[in-house]
Amino acid sequence: MPAQTDAAADWSGWRLAHAMAARFVHWAVDTEGSSRSSALIRIGLAMLFWSRWAGELLLYMDQSPAGLFLAANFFVATTLLFVGYQSRVAAVWTGAVGLAMYHYFGFQLGREPWTHHHTYLLAVSALLIALTPCGASYSLDRYLAVMRAERMGLPPPAERGNLLGLRLIVVQLSVLYFFAAFDKSGYAFSSGARIEAIFLWYYAGSDYPAIPGLAWLATLVSLAVVALEYSLAFGLPFRATRRYLLLPGLAFHAIIYVTLPVYTFSATMVLLYLAYFDADAVDRVIARLQGIGPTAGEETS
């Protein structure tokens, strides 16, 4: 009865696909978890915004109405993000400021390097963290909520929430790694030529160093970078492969941080790596380190 066998196989395949889709949808939009990793990213993003732009946006730097308006918005929004007051609104506000710097001041007014990748990544990260319970931990919002609960004789609210924003950060990082590798998947990069040119541009000038084997090393490094970026794109989201990719990924970002002018890009990527980890697992590590219990509502088994 081959027809019945085929039908059974089709049915089994469809059920498998349906189960995988349902699991993905659950992972993407239905997962609830600890808010502590989201809060850490929120605080880290505020500090990265300051690290990158606070110096350039001091009030005396650009005294035009647009410049002062940008600076005022920047400092108020990022301060609210850092202390965690109206955290999700502050995240949207900060992200909007970042996008205004990227699109208007960068592309429209030609202010550089505000059109660079690190600017965009910081801005969208702030917007995405708004889709997490980033204000439910380590924040003024949390302090006020606990005070309110105490006044009403209620237990403190749970430091938990929907993790949609963390999932979208995972997607953003995978898309970034994949297309960064895709851009390098040609002869110019894999031959080592692009890395050699970058090396000459920043370091050696127009004198290729007389070091035997340097061209081979450039080729090997180029191939390794492409392989690593593809691996990070597809491997970091999964626990089984993440354990092998985490250190290479961190090392990669550390190396480009000290060798190339990537500004806050490396630090932002490393901070966003927190999104890959199970939020409750991050919570448990924090609880162990601080000698405190896990967030309310989490299973302790």
Binding site: V29, H103, L176, D183, A188, R194, L200, W201, S206, D207
Partner: protein, 125 residues
């Protein structure tokens, strides 16, 4: 609602690089991920040799020949035109009848492109 938001935002994340890196559509509203792809383009890797009185070719230090700082403007040659100017200065400094050989390649989007070979005396041009 959340699923729609997820699909819309993830779709936007993917659409940017696909539009620019696959279909070549350039827009400030779409973000590609082509980091450092233009850095180093145009830079010239050049080496110089000068013929000695005994007929042998010896490496030529352009900084010493031109009395220039090693960390100054001469460190980078960014175009074929700039290379031609450097060659002209070297030939002038070396004096009439000098035989200077130049090997040079330039970084392009497709990789290294040879722009000068050492088959002929560059000062004879």
């Amino acid at each position: 609602m959340r699923l729609l938001a997820f699909i819309a935002i993830a779709g936007f994340m993917i659409a940017g690089p696909v539009a620019e890196q696959v279909f070549g559509v350039q827009s400030a509203w779409l973000r590609s991920w082509t980091m450092f792809s233009a850095i180093g383009l145009g830079v010239v890797d050049a080496s110089f040799e000068i013929r000695q009185p005994d007929g042998a070719l010896a490496p030529l230090d352009r900084f010493a020949m031109l009395g220039a700082r090693r960390d100054g403007r001469l460190k980078w040659i960014d175009s074929g035109e700039e290379l031609a100017l450097v060659i002209k200065r070297l030939c002038t400094a070396a004096g009439q009848g000098a035989d200077i050989r130049v090997r040079a390649r330039q970084a392009t989007r497709g990789g290294w492109q040879i722009i000068h070979t050492d088959t002929e005396n560059a000062c004879a041009d």
